[in-house]
Symmetry: C2
Subunit: 171 residues, 2 copies
Amino acid sequence: MEVEVKFRVNLGEIQPRIEAIADFDHEEVQEDLYFSVPLPALLRIRRIVNRDESILGYKLIKDSRNEEFEEIEVAVEDFEKTKEILKRLGFKEDVWVKKHRYVYKLGNVTFELNRVEGLGDFLDIEVISDDPEKAKEEIWKIAEMLGLGEEDVEPRLYQELIQERSKEKGK
Amino acid sequence: MEVEVKFRVNLGEIQPRIEAIADFDHEEVQEDLYFSVPLPALLRIRRIVNRDESILGYKLIKDSRNEEFEEIEVAVEDFEKTKEILKRLGFKEDVWVKKHRYVYKLGNVTFELNRVEGLGDFLDIEVISDDPEKAKEEIWKIAEMLGLGEEDVEPRLYQELIQERSKEKGK
C-alpha cells in the first residue's frame, strides 16, 4: 500500500532542507487527466511530458484522511488513444492536474515536491508499506525534521483542490 | 474503419492458396480476454504470447453482419495490471478467445488465417478503408480467387462462438 502525507509548503524554503537529508532522484513534468468515477476510487491517465510516457492509473483511497492508497498503474503506449477508450467506455473527463515534480529519496521514503499549476507548492512524503501506522510514524519523524507540522497538512486530493478552484472561479 | 469478412476454412487447404497470391507477414499466438460490455461495443485485452506484448482494444461494430468495425487499440505494459484496472472499474471477464494467427498481405488487403482453440479454422480478409462498400468488393474479389463463397461466411464474432460453445457444453 502507498502511504503518504501531503503538506502545503513553499518550494524555495523546503527544497534546501530536503536536499540536506535526501538524494535527488529525478524530476517529472506531469499532466494528469482525472475521470469522473465515484470516490473512494480515482481514475487518471498521467502524461509524463519530459519523458514522453503515459500511465493509466487506478487508485483506491483506504482512509478518511486521503493518506492510504491502493494503487494499480500500467504504462500505455499512447495518451490520446487511452483517453478515447475510457471515454467510449462511458467515463467522463473531470479535471486536469498539472505539476512539476522533484523527487528525492531517503531509504524507503520518497519525497515528491510538487509545484502544482494554479494551486501552489506541496510536498508528499510517501512510504510503500503494508503497515500504515508504522509508515505514518516514519513519515512524521521526517516531516518534523523538515519543520512541518499538523497545521501544514493538506488532506484534500489535488483533484478536489482543482474542482474547488473551478467552482470558486465560476462564482 | 476496419472492414473484414470472416470465412470458415480448412487451414491445410486454404493456406497454400493464400501463399500463392499473398506474402507471409508474421504469425502471432493470441490470447484475447473479452469483458462484458453491451454490444455493439467490444472490450478486450489481447496478449500476443510469442512477442510478450499486450494490447487494450475497444471495437465498435458498425453493421449488422459484423463486417465493419471502428477500432481503437493501445499497447499496454502489463496484461494482468490492465485486467485488474478494468475489473476494478466494474467490467466483468466474459470469455477467452485463443488462436494461432498467420498473417499474409497483398497490397492493402490483410489475410488473417486463424486456428482458434475449440472453434476450428477461420480466414478474416481485411481492408482498412473509409468506403466499406468498395472495401467489400475488394474482399469478395479475393475471396472468389481463393474459392470461398457466401456459404463459407461466418457472421458471428469469435466471442459469440465461444459463448455459444460454452452454453452447449453446459447442457
